[in-house]
Symmetry: C2
């Protein structure tokens, strides 16, 4: 930290701290992680201000686009104004896909429009669109079971039964309809594919997200229907079967395009540690968002949480280890920022990585992947988090997308502060991901959990990397 300018502009951040009504920072006396935690819990405005700024002043900021570049400039200014050290941008180049027009309508037997959005990497229907019979698959497994060539000239429609889960694990169970459904449908000869959005809400806002085609597989037009529209289409298919025997036909227009290699980048900032020999801790969020919403929960919230927690860490005096913030670029469209970070910093010693990229819901559990020798710090963290309603689990912490590359390269220690994701997939990758979805009290609880955890980790000098797996 270079200075405390920001702290004293956002004066209310201090109300819970004793003796701070002066122009000097609070002295690093006998503060504890509990004091740090409770001050954040009582009143943290910084995290919310970051979400508000990104969603209002920038809005949607897809990786590789000019909006993402503006977000990087905004981020540098913000992180410098807070007072972080070594604020900088690491640029890289990446292939970029952008959305075009998108419409869908049932043309027979019950003509009406459906709400659709293209999946990232979708092919184009061309301006003329595609009109074809719908081939219905209630599950991805049913699509997998379709004979090769059986989808020729048809539009595949894959549905599923994704439900809300606290830990978000239903995304793992039902997300593959999006991740791999289009690739499978293309290989079976489909002209196009629509899926029931990988989401859990009932609004007419379809969920986008990347899909991927294997090399040599034609990228067919691939879209997601909103859940009310997917259910309407299912009812039409059932009725058509029952009363008419007539096929249901769909007309799709999706005109996305690939605009070639573009510039994206990571924004980096640090709280410098006092001991340069200690491997650093990297904490990540992603700065980019999908283009439909303003990226409040995905992932301005994560950037707000880690910045506010790292800022509060400095109140305790200089930590022993350096804590590095990675506001990653282009996560949604292929984790380009995370991969670039892993490659660029592969030779700089890291100890541990953490990520916040699951909205702004309360942290309810903590998972660890630490060596047995780190039991003392693990126990301290568990104790500090318990009053926030956070319980330790048996699961081994896995990290997140943007820290995946550096964790794999250096076999890092990981701590996951698991957020309640019950409503996350109501909003994920939709136009509805906007500032109003942020619960300020829950956001503060995140900052409190992160601040206490970071304080304990950054002042712990022992080994944090887990034992090598046999």
């Amino acid at each position: 930290m270079k200075n405390i300018t920001y702290a004293f502009t956002a004066a209310s951040a201090f109300v819970a701290m004793p003796q701070t009504a002066s122009a000097t920072p609070p002295p690093p006396l006998n503060y504890t992680p509990e004091i740090l935690r409770d001050s954040a819990l009582a009143d943290d405005v910084m995290a919310y201000e970051i979400v508000e700024g990104l969603t209002t002043e920038i809005g949607p900021r897809q990786g590789g686009t000019p909006a993402e570049a503006k977000a990087r400039a905004w981020a540098v200014q913000k992180l410098k104004s807070i007072g972080f050290d070594n604020v900088r941008i690491d640029e890289y180049r990446m292939p970029t896909w952008v959305r075009g027009e998108e419409t869908a309508e049932v043309t027979a037997p019950f003509p009406q429009k459906l709400a659709i959005t293209a999946l990232g990497n979708s092919g184009s229907t061309g301006d003329a669109g595609i009109e074809a019979e719908v081939a219905y698959f209630p599950t991805l497994d049913a699509l997998r079971a379709a004979p090769d060539g059986s989808l020729k000239g048809k539009i595949a429609f894959v549905s599923h039964a994704m439900q809300r889960t606290q830990d978000g694990s239903s995304y793992g169970a039902f997300g593959p309809a999006r991740f791999v459904g289009p690739n499978i449908a293309s290989k079976k000869g489909a002209s196009a594919i629509v899926i029931r959005s990988a989401g859990t809400d009932y609004h007419r806002n379809p969920h986008t997200g990347n899909t991927n085609f294997e090399t040599g597989v034609t990228p067919i037009p691939a879209g997601a229907l909103s859940i009310p529209d997917a259910e309407n289409l299912e009812r039409m298919l059932a009725l058509s079967q029952q009363y008419e025997g007539k096929p249901v036909r769909l007309k799709l227009k999706l005109t996305p395009k690939n605009i070639g290699m573009q510039t994206s980048g990571n924004v980096i900032a640090e709280v410098k540690g006092s001991n340069p020999n200690l491997p650093i801790i990297v904490i990540a969020c992603h700065l980019d968002s999908w283009d439909l919403g303003t990226g409040a929960i995905d992932d301005a919230a994560g950037c707000g949480i880690i910045a506010a927690a790292a800022f509060r860490l400095t109140w305790m005096g200089q930590p022993k280890r350096t804590v590095r913030l990675l506001w990653a670029g282009a996560e949604e469209v292929g984790i380009w920022g995370g991969k670039d970070y892993g490659a660029k910093y592969v030779n700089e010693p890291h100890a541990l990585a953490m990520e916040s990229d699951f909205g702004a819901g309360k942290v309810w559990a903590v998972d660890f992947n630490l060596p047995a020798s780190a039991k003392p710090v693990r126990d301290q963290i568990t104790s500090a988090l318990a009053p926030l309603g956070i319980v330790p689990r048996q699961q081994v912490a896995g990290g997140g997308a943007d820290i995946g590359a550096i964790i794999a390269a250096q076999k890092l220690g990981v701590i996951d502060l698991q957020q309640d994701g019950t409503k996350y997939f109501d909003l994920h990758h939709t136009p509805d991901d906007t500032l109003d979805k942020i619960d300020k009290a829950e956001l503060r609880q995140n900052v409190a959990a992160w601040a206490a955890t970071l304080f304990l980790l950054a002042n712990y000098e022992g080994e944090l990397k887990p034992e090598p797996k046999p």
Copy 2:
């Protein structure tokens, strides 16, 4: 009722009725409104099937369009299959406005797209769109207070603070931003107007609805922003004021057009009474919907409720009075069906009118406008409704849009079964008005309340028109 065909296709409608496992209708023995009510409460599938059919097989059905004509044909077939008497269409002609393209984006100082929809009767920006500075009014009263001519070359933005209310009365308080805001802005010289949607949700689905321009006032382009977008625009205006001093500029493209006189129509059906000398009872819903959603709560639900209740009425044997169903056309776009009904049937004696057009939420109160002499039937209705959680109020029943003309022409008695509208304006006139928003148990409670009320009214031979006002 001509027959009971429908009843025996939808066999489950009978499970709560004793001794009906035959091909004959249940005999009109000593049934009571309570038995009728409770059978509907336990199991009514017809109302839901009507909502499902209209939303799935027809979808959006704006007044004056081919989709509304298809809905009339569907309705005639459905009402005949249920077995109602005198099923017919009364056509009329009406001027028709249809939506075009619609986009909005902030161009400075924080460029991003906003979710917008045109209000009914909006003027067009032309294909080139309009780009202008935003003039902000936190309330409609603030717009009213703006000096004449002060909006020249600007786009007015009117916000408000509409909140959820059980009785829906906030629509009366905040709806005028839509009803008259555009007319006021045009008279003050504005190039266009955008309002915060008259709604109470936080989704990126703007609320449409009619606005009206006085004769001689230019119909300027008029749109509604979704509530998250309206709040984002308010934040931009505040930030711009605070830090930049730069005006916020908006680019609008709204290209609706008037397509001249088109055909619309009411669908009429009856349960014939045994005494042709008794003035009839008319019960109404509207068949048309706005074009953005599939019109589940507005107002397929109302049509399902009144049809299911009238169908159940026939189980009690022929009523004394004729009960007429009015599935009105073109309500949303100017109450054309209701006005046509009032004019066409002005000389046919009516006694009382009721309407269901406030979604599918539970009935929680009943209001009356009856003569003092009708106290016995009023008391019977109150008693029959009490076990459904419905309380009588002091308010004088006013009816609804589609029965307004006939009530005024003949000074009819009115009973209002007031539905819980707490969430109604989350969905009203948005793309989100879809089948999944219907709560089947609440829908059944509506049918139960209507069935008991209709039975008591249709067999009451006394006067139902209130005393003339002094």
